[in-house]
Amino acid sequence: MGVIERDPHTGHGTTGHEWNGIKELNTAVPWPIWAFLIATVIFSVVWWILMPAWPLGDTYTKGLLGADVRQNVATDLKSAEEKRSIWASRIEKEELSAIMSDSELMQDIRETGHALFGDNCAACHGARAEGGPGYPKLTDSAWLWGQTPDAIFETIRAGVNSGHPDSRFSQMPAWGRDQMLDRKAIIDVSAFVKSLSDANKGGNGSPEQLAAGQKIFVDNCASCHGSDAHGAHQTGAPDLTDNTWLYGGDAASIYESIYNGRQGHMPAWESRLSNADRKILMIYLLDLGQNSP
């Protein structure tokens, strides 16, 4: 150790070095800093012993508390499941009419269903199930694949054009692009289709055009949409006589749908959502439809 030299002004020791006539104070590190450092070191040693800490090749020290985040999350999920099962088990067992007339149970379903819908369905169908271009509104009565609880549940489970083995399959052919109908024929049948939902039944077409369009419709479209154009739940073909239009009901949109065809896609939820969750969503939608204006 060098000679301790004291600074005459402050009384602190100096480093003992001199740089161009300047000397530097050697002020001691304040004790709170030492205390803090020592406390953190002691804490870390305790933590190493209590918690998983040191890697040992293909394993690690498990710690006395046996903490394991993967186990924690499994336990958390299980306890949440148990808490929920008080009412969720009733959903799996009881009749739909009994469930829907139980206002307390329906409150639980509305809350859980709202969260499930928001996480999974709202991206396409909208936060209030109002739908959008290409994505059906779920609160009206125009259901492509049927409005029965079983039909809705099956659509959620297997999806539409989803690649799931039981998927519903539906395709509107591209009549124009694939050259099955020429431009004039598509314009005629568009006018006819538009006239079906028109209040005054006249549409914008002349009687001759509508007659030509009707003939094309019967020859080409009726096999899926039905001779009365009311659609069919087996093929997912929409009703063309109502005012619900998935891809737009103006002349240009109808022309586009016929020319380029349509093939909607709804993912299958069987592998993503549990049976109970899918049933909650189904009841949530039924309830939403009943309570919508």
Partner: protein
């Protein structure tokens, strides 16, 4: 004890050795676990690799900085598992160089986005997010659909990844450009090669709805639809955890 460094500071060789020892401790703590990474990462024997188109999409994801707002890491927390699906496993990002776990969620986590929504939805959403999610603050990426995908460098990307351990075969590297076109053109002869090299489960679709060309939209949607689906290890872990 507090005075010991006065002594050490007076011997330059001793000081150098002490600095090396102190710095090594930090290094060892960070590096040593990597020596046993093969034993600590879960097994996923059937795990597939990114196809050239998906890889190109991944590069676009990196280029556009998607990771700045979207994480790809579901943590072991109940609310995350309930919202997004099984928590992420290390093995799921074993072919990710660099990994895109991210650390910030302005938008939702994307680790289980693959297959959750349709291609059409992804295209509509990237064109203008407000069209499908009115409250979204995500920027629009409509230029992706107008931009032809650059494919001439795909073989080099595959080669680089092979050097860091991704099991691309020589024929995958050689046919990278053809496979990128084939995956987005289901009715072309090139599509068969993609199935041969990358397996039956590979998505072969016109992701952007236009089978005639391969746009950056094709690549990004192809990537989004494969995120979390290279292996089922996380789902198996979940079901085996349920059985316990």
């Amino acid at each position: 004890m507090f005075q010991a460094h006065y002594k050490l500071e007076r011997y330059s060789v001793g000081l150098v050795i002490a600095i090396i020892i102190a710095a090594s401790i930090g290094g060892i703590v960070e590096i040593a676990p990597l020596f046993t990474i093969d034993q600590t990462v879960e097994e996923a024997p059937g795990m597939r690799v990114y196809t050239p188109l998906e890889l190109a999409g991944r590069n676009i994801y990196v280029r556009e900085g998607c990771y700045a707002c979207h994480s790809q890491m579901i943590r072991t927390l109940r609310d995350e598992v309930e919202r997004y699906g099984p928590y992420s496993l290390a093995v799921e990002s074993q072919y990710d160089h660099p990994m895109l776990w991210g650390s910030k969620r302005t938008g939702p986590d994307l680790a289980r986005i693959g297959g959750k929504y349709s291609d059409q939805w992804h295209v509509a959403h990237l064109e203008n997010p407000r069209d499908v999610v009115p409250a979204s603050i995500m920027p629009a990426y409509s230029f992706l659909a107008r931009t032809q995908l650059r494919t001439d460098d795909l073989s080099m990307h595959l080669t680089a990844l092979k050097k860091v351990g991704v099991p691309y075969t020589d024929s995958m590297i050689e046919k990278a450009v053809e496979d990128a076109y084939g995956q987005a053109a289901p009715f072309s002869a090139l599509a068969d090669g993609v199935v041969t090299r990358y397996g039956d489960a590979t998505h072969i679709r016109a992701f952007d709805g236009d089978p005639g060309s391969v746009s950056e939209m094709d690549a990004l949607v192809a990537y989004l639809q494969i995120i979390g689906r290279l292996t089922d290890a996380a789902h198996e872990q979940k079901s085996s955890g349920d059985a316990e």
